[in-house]
């Protein structure tokens, strides 16, 4: 007798996991343009459509700008829509990103986090999506291929919720997740259909009640539309948490909503992570715990909306907070740090803070380096003379 139902697990890459998540979500329209390291996702999807595994209008477009523009057209009249991009492609879409969020079109897009030129680089960091934090999209970052698949399904449910109606970007680290193979459980279509009802829009294309879509606004009304967008983003926090709870009950995997706290309750030093680096930090933190160091991890899942409440609470219970940024806003700080620091300052707490800039253009962040970060945080509890922003693992001497 089988003690447990055999789970449908297959050995696939992060890109392929996304493709399966999209297939199970049954989009009406996929508009896609290939770019490394996202290409495999749209290739797999085109194969699925070709083989009849999914019924979808698969549009071959001539650029990323067109991919998102076509997605907007479809989404505006009620089609569930998917597109995918990365790096330069995401930036080429920048105009359309604001357009889509302002139009309140619940498009779901996968972004493979990749560095930005120049110097030209196809390898990973998070400067692409973080530089577009203000574009009005919900941004979630995943840690592994399973979470990537699951978040595509959750993303439609969140984005299409009547209180939200905001596009959502599912970010996964280029190569580290997109091209690494893992065992991934493929949920049953029937259960996904139960979890994810069809998208209903009041703006469906229809002769009886025609709509005027995407109109302009005068100064008299523009602020109100932007207020609405901000409110929807804030309201999405509740939807995100409820969706994750419902998903967990149905599929057995919980992702803890806005953030995942790992060993934070009695921690002295906590590293804040975003994306796949969390996996490596988990290993180091457990090793340090075994040696008696009180360390923890705050895995940020959502950068927009931002987990302000959780970070304020974290600030009240720990002595030092380090933020790993695969990003730098030149002339200031890593963007994750700026956001975390803003929340900490509102908590009115005094913690030692450090911003570790690393992993740029695909450079690995090693376990030894993470241990060093933790040691700095543990030692730095009472010093205030250190530089807050630290380029980690520069391979040469500098003039500083």
């Amino acid at each position: 007798m089988m003690l447990e139902m055999k789970k449908n697990k297959i050995f696939i890459s992060g890109d392929e996991a996304v493709a399966h998540g999209v297939r199970l979500s049954r989009p009406h329209v996929i508009a896609a343009y290939p770019i490394t390291p996202q290409t495999i996702t749209v290739e797999r999807l085109s194969e699925m459509v070709e083989k009849g595994e999914m019924v979808t209008e698969y549009m071959h477009v001539e650029s990323e700008h067109s991919a998102l523009s076509a997605s907007m057209g479809a989404s505006s009249v009620g089609a569930r829509t998917f597109t995918a991009t990365s790096s330069q492609g995401l930036l080429y879409m920048a105009e359309a990103l604001h357009y889509a969020s302002g139009g309140r079109y619940p498009i779901v897009m996968m972004n493979a986090n990749r560095s930005l030129a120049l110097p030209w680089s196809i390898y990973g960091d998070q400067r692409d999506s973080l530089s577009l934090l203000d574009s009005g999209w919900i941004q979630v970052y995943v840690e592994d291929a399973q979470e990537a698949l699951d978040m595509i399904i959750q993303a439609y449910k969140i984005a299409e919720h009547a209180d939200v109606l905001t596009p959502m970007m599912v970010n996964l680290d280029g190569f580290i997740l997109t091209h690494t193979y893992e065992l991934v459980e493929i949920p049953e279509q029937e259960k996904v259909d139960e979890f994810l009802p069809p998208f209903e829009t009041p703006n469906k294309m229809c002769f009886e009640t025609p709509k005027n879509l995407a109109f302009s606004s005068q100064p008299d009304d523009n602020t109100e539309f932007k207020y609405q967008q901000n409110k929807a983003m804030l309201d999405s926090i509740d939807v995100i948490e409820k969706t994750d709870q419902e998903f967990g009950e149905k599929f057995g995997r919980f992702y803890h909503g806005m953030v995942e706290e790992i060993m934070c309750d009695d921690a002295d030093a906590v590293l804040v992570t975003l994306g796949s680096i969390t996996g490596t930090v988990r290993v180091v933190a457990e090793q340090l715990r075994a040696k008696g160091h009180k360390v923890g991890i705050l895995k940020i899942r959502y950068m927009r909306p931002f987990p302000e409440k959780e970070i304020m609470e974290l600030g009240k219970k720990v002595k030092s907070v380090g933020v790993i940024d695969k990003d730098i806003s030149f002339g200031y700080e890593g963007t994750v740090f700026t956001n975390v620091n803003s929340a900490l300052s509102k908590a009115n707490v005094s913690v030692f803070k450090q911003n570790f800039i690393g992993g740029l253009g695909g450079r690995d962040i090693t376990k030894a380096e993470i241990e060093k970060m933790y040691m700095e945080l543990l030692a730095g509890e009472n010093t205030d003379n250190q530089k807050t922003v630290e380029f980690f693992n520069l391979k040469v001497e500098t003039n500083d």
Binding site: R104, K211, N212, L213, F215, D221, E224, F225, Q228
Partner: protein
């Protein structure tokens, strides 16, 4: 020839009065819009054969039938003159407005 008419527009007083995003019922005319016209089309009903070419070419949808006669909605006509130019019977004349 169902055409939208001007309706009273009440400014929103609560945020919930706004639509979700910039989309709304089509053809909601909140004001008239013909202020910059310098010439207006005038139809000679003796020449008009009701071919409706003017109706087809009007870029603003201002041509209609009134009591069986072709008429222009001067509240929205911008005076572009396309109807007069295209009329096969030269039944439409552009007449200078008294400005």
């Amino acid at each position: 020839m169902k055409k939208p008419t001007k309706r009273d527009f009440k400014r929103p007083t609560h945020i919930d009065d706004y639509p979700v995003g910039p989309q709304y019922e089509a053809g909601f005319l909140a004001e008239i819009n013909a202020g910059w016209r310098t010439y207006k089309p005038v139809i000679d009903h003796d020449k008009c054969i009701h071919c409706l070419i003017c109706y087809m070419v009007c870029p603003d949808g201002t041509i209609m039938k009134n009591d069986g006669k072709i008429a222009v909605d001067y509240d929205y006509c911008k005076g572009c003159g396309v109807c007069a130019n295209e009329c096969p019977k030269n039944a439409i004349t552009m007449v200078k407005e008294d400005l």
